[in-house]
Symmetry: C2
């Protein structure tokens, strides 16, 4: 019986049809035409006893062996009743490798009922190698399980392109938020950091999964590993049907100790495993592997950049600025969020501003702090809670007063948006409208997490009910609509984005997502992962500007408003580190303050106006061309932009010497194409009874 | 049938015996002598329809009502087969409140089979009020479930002494690590921090549990809530039989939305609920409540301090210094960890030191950086992996060379310990000895988490096999034995502590635990919680020096070595914040570096020598007398010590004005009893092309 390529639907019928053909082919006596595919760049050898793949990068000579733990081709994870289990594809009783054409082979893993304590099951995959490029295409053609079993996922290939910890010098590369790399070897680091790092990779948390598109998932549909000779990069589908499992320098020790009362005999490895969700894939679902001789995280990102361009996801800021001249105002802007309260609350005690106060802040930034470019994002300007963003608060000063502020902002050549959400239901809202929630089959309201609790079908309608009124009154030139676009959206989300795009405003949104790049001008927070929330990945990886290497010249990127530059965070650092990272990666400066804090952050605004802003103004619309780690502890990094600007930063307290130049602790060095140099450093200082002590 | 006060054992027999008596009493017609207990300080009224408690603080007049959600007296959580469920005690068909003596009553909750869709079950509790003090004692005398049911926990009283969010101005007080308080109202905070905070308390993570003694649990067996009029504090047993459940400004919204398709009608509350583990309690197990009119977190800690003294847990540093003069050397010491590698690794690439290098560092700190007091803790001095801490590495320079370093350290009047663990098994150890692991009933090795993988019965033996040899060769004057004492220990752990104590060395250990206070001189890291690891509590609470309010003059406390002062962490802050917090709470300065970082942290050492150390020297052996939050955003705090020293700090970027004095951003002010003032601030500075810009 055939099961599990999905609920009966078109894809499944396709599968069934295709499988009929395959079964015919495979029922012939096994006349292997051969078990290799090869072109001048790559060869793929299939082990005909286990069906696993060995991939050779013929340019560098690097041989990528199959699964270093068990030599397994893949694992089929099934459920039966309430239990789940897995079968090793390579333990199938019959494995047939068939070269169907010159550039394509199929591998059929078939287990006869009762062999190896398993029932009858079949998995058939195909591997194709492009004629003239180092591109492999993997598909899963058939998954058959016996009655009563349900196929959950297929891990295929199993633990491919693995790096042996402390043997291979390389890294796993994962577009998690802005991006991270997981080194495959021990390197010098702070004593305290080392303890945390090493513990994290000696625990079950060294394994985890990410899906493309989720709020806390992959921001681009690819990942890869590389050493000093070769890189192998997987490109997965945009539909989320194939997930990533990472193994970060782990050997499964705790599972083995618990179940087998012995030590793990597996090597510690870094490997990135494609996990095929059998309820979502079709026989056309493809995982594409690209072999990149001498490649690293930059090579991978640049390879994907070309794919993104072909798919229409990459649209340049230059082009966007031609359609809307206000987009130019993002260059060098300080993105400043002023949190007067709403949401989460209206007239929040101790935090709400008046529009007069807002006006004073805006003037002070311009007149006294030298701020030439800014994007002002004011939170808390309405009388109602989300998703009803209207009317403008009379208590705070009324719409005429707020218009004065907006006029002033525009007069300075800056951008303005009030905070908007059209997708939230807040429980403390006195006008909480449960009618806006989606309902289940029985018509009962489904109250999901408050920020995204409105039925997606209503999002655009709610925006259209409020935003035109606000535009008519204020004449703002930008829009930040929060929350809606942080994860995958359906038709309703697309309609909201289309509507917002139709307003002609400069568009920004929280976090941001790849699909929004063509319509959006700024993302607030596609930065280093700032939350761990179960994702230990941030603990044992280094930040890498993967998203910017693809999209820096397509969408501007500013810090995450929940993790502004003047707060500290375990994974993203303090003000120095965040500022240095923004300079390196080409992000704009940002602050997010409650009004009562304004006095305390004036000096940060002055510094942004003087130093961070002008650098961003230079590079905002340029491609991020390159990025590299320079110091053994990964804290000194360098990058370069399309206009020739090169930025080098030291994100640690240890001086670093290279080419007779010393990069001081928390230092930076910007070299422009014309030879102009801006060199400096951040430092700690204490003033004790009048005496200055520098760190 | 009687079940569930434990597996058949002495406590259960006691219970059965006692229950016989009670059943007799309660089978009499209900002649309630009354349903109240009262003395001049407190009255307790029991609702005889629901059996819930109302407690009145008669001094302040504050009436603490029962459970604000359901008026429930308590909840009995049971298991049946693989399922679990709960019964509301107040929904029992028969509730009998009986005053057994003037100062004691029992409450019997009995449900008749079939009533309220429940089978027959009984729970009997007792409440006693001390004659002359505001002390209530609660016990659970009887828990009876029908055959096939298994009693798991009893939440009793249910949601007591609750604060209504944004109505009551108070806090929950929890000795989690050094201690935290959870305000019951919205207060001004940074815009970004507010988003994170408010989200965290509108999610299921606003509820969680802690147990006394666990690595990540309660560090002292008490907790409480207070508002501006009254405090109620629970003291729970030392054996971990009663846990804490916290509710942090939550109303169970998500559970209700999911199960009932509607909004929560419960008020958001802060409440701390005792959770009785029915497999561990006996009828003598007592939860003691103390009512403290006008009390707060300081009052609670000071009340517990007296209990700790009575229990012999509090032994003064002064007394300890009389027994061992070296203990005085902790006063004002910089605790510096130098991480050459072991553990986790021997001769760690890029990080190992030689003993010559260590000697140079020690001399430089003394001669050039003005360091007068220090505790040097060197990691990576042996040739073997833990738990075999011997011989001293020849490759790094040999034992004579290391002795020179130790002699130098002692000559300066400092303390020295190499890093020790006698409890770990590291998988990369070429001499990994699986024989040291504990075994299960079938004799199979149980390989637990690597740091505590050695059978506890072997700990002392392993220490005794190594430490005397090292002492004979080096003559060190201190010992840091890591890991062993971070959680609850059994006899084996006690034997190790006793052995270490018998060496006459100054004793320090990782994190530390209350039971170790009498034997130990310094704890490395009973500080602000630095890990979240599933404990969202750190996200929506403020640090409070609860442990120090009890034990500051009994054991010195330094920073956590995994979270040293020069690294940043979301929950503990950056260098400024950690230094200010250490000044405020009376902790010593600390750094933890890899040798290659030494150059980069010399300025921090100089600052510790000049400013942080001398303050600690003054207050190290003094009681921490008081602590208060001054600013509305909780970032300005003050404390005072037994010698009259008062410390005020501002842990945020906003200037704070009080009594005509302005506390600058990241500022501090130390006033000694003699009027001497040390005032200062930390600040950021950037130097750009030679120009200094201050923040």
């Amino acid at each position: 019986m055939l099961i599990t390529l999905g609920t009966p639907s078109r894809p499944l019928q396709t599968a069934a049809c295709l499988l009929g053909l395959l079964t015919l082919t495979l029922s012939l006596p096994c006349e292997a035409i051969g078990v290799s595919l090869s072109n001048k760049l790559v060869s793929v050898d299939v082990d005909d006893t286990g069906g696993s793949l060995t991939v050779t990068d013929r340019v560098s000579g690097r041989v990528w062996e199959p699964d270093p733990w068990m030599g397994s081709a893949g694992s089929l994870i099934y459920k039966k009743g309430g239990q789940s289990g897995w079968w090793n594809l390579s333990s199938a009783s019959d494995i047939a490798v068939t070269k169907t054409t010159e550039d394509r082979l199929t591998i059929r893993f078939h287990n006869q009922d009762g062999r190896g304590d398993m029932p009858e099951w079949t998995v058939t995959t195909s591997v194709a190698l492009d004629a003239d490029s180092a591109t492999l295409r993997l598909r899963v053609l058939e998954v058959k399980l016996p009655q009563g079993y349900w196929g959950s996922t297929l891990e295929y290939p199993q633990r491919p392109f693995a790096l042996k910890t402390d043997v291979d010098r390389g890294a796993g590369v994962v577009p998690y938020w802005q991006g991270v790399t997981i080194p495959s070897y021990i390197f010098p680091m702070n004593g305290g950091r080392f303890c945390m790092w090493d513990d994290a990779v000696h625990s079950p948390n060294a394994i985890g999964e990410l899906r493309y598109y989720d709020w806390d998932g992959l921001t681009m549909p690819w990942f890869g590993t590389h050493d000093e000779r070769s890189a192998a990069m997987a490109i997965i589908p945009y539909d989320g049907s194939v997930r990533l499992r990472w193994i970060a320098n782990y050997n499964n020790a705790s599972v083995i100790a618990k179940n087998h009362f012995r030590r793990s005999e597996f090597a510690r490895i870094v490997s990135l495993v494609p996990v095929w969700d059998l309820s979502k894939i079709t026989p056309e679902t493809t995982v594409q592997y690209q072999i990149l001789p001498g490649g690293n995280h930059v090579t991978m990102a640049k390879h994907y950049r070309e794919i993104a361009k072909k798919n229409g996801l990459w649209v340049s800021l230059e082009e966007k600025a031609k359609a809307n001249a206000d987009v130019e105002k993002l260059k060098g802007a300080l993105y400043i969020g002023i949190y007067g309260g709403y949401p989460h609350y209206i007239n929040l005690p101790g935090m709400a501003f008046t529009f007069d106060r807002l006006d004073t802040i805006v003037q002070d930034m311009h007149d006294n702090l030298g701020l030439e470019h800014a994007f002002v994002h004011a939170w808390g300007t309405f009388e109602n809670y989300a998703p009803v963003m209207w009317p403008i608060s009379e208590e705070l000063g009324g719409q005429e007063k707020l218009k004065q502020v907006v006029d002033r902002v525009k007069g300075y050549g800056w951008l303005y948006s009030s905070y908007h959400s059209f997708v939230s239901l807040l429980e403390h809202d006195p006008n909480f409208n449960i009618e806006l929630a989606p309902t289940d089959d029985e018509g009962r309201p489904l109250l999901r997490h408050r920020w995204k609790a409105v039925d997606e079908d209503r999002w655009a309608e709610l925006a259209e009910a409020c935003l035109p009124k606000e535009m008519a009154v204020l004449g703002q030139n930008a829009d930040v609509t929060d929350i809606a676009f942080t994860g995958k959206v359906g038709e309703g989300g697309r309609r909201l984005a289309d509507y917002l795009s139709s307003t002609g405003l400069v568009l920004g949104t929280e976090r941001g997502n790849e699909w929004a790049v063509p319509q959006y001008h700024m993302f607030e927070g596609l930065v280093a992962p700032y939350r761990i929330h179960g994702k230990a990945l941030a603990e044992y990886s280094h930040g890498a500007p993967l998203f910017n290497l693809v999209y820096h010249d397509a969408v501007t990127n500013f810090g995450k408003i929940q993790d502004p530059n003047h707060l500290v965070n375990a994974h993203t650092g303090d003000y120095y580190i965040k500022s240095l990272r923004a300079m390196l990666q080409g992000n704009g400066p940002m602050l997010f303050i409650a009004p009562y804090e304004y006095e305390g952050v004036r000096s940060y605004i002055r510094f942004a106006a003087k130093t961070l802003g002008p650098l961003h103004r230079q590079t905002a619309f340029e491609e991020l061309v390159d990025h590299a780690y320079l110091s053994p502890d990964f804290l000194v990094q360098t990058s370069s932009f399309g206009d020739g600007t090169r930025v080098t930063v030291n994100m640690g307290p240890t001086p670093f010497e290279q080419d007779d130049k010393v990069m001081p602790p928390y230092g930076f060095r910007v070299v422009h194409r014309d030879g102009r140099v801006i060199a400096g450093r951040f430092q700690h200082q204490a003033v004790v009874n009048g005496e200055e002590i520098q760190f």
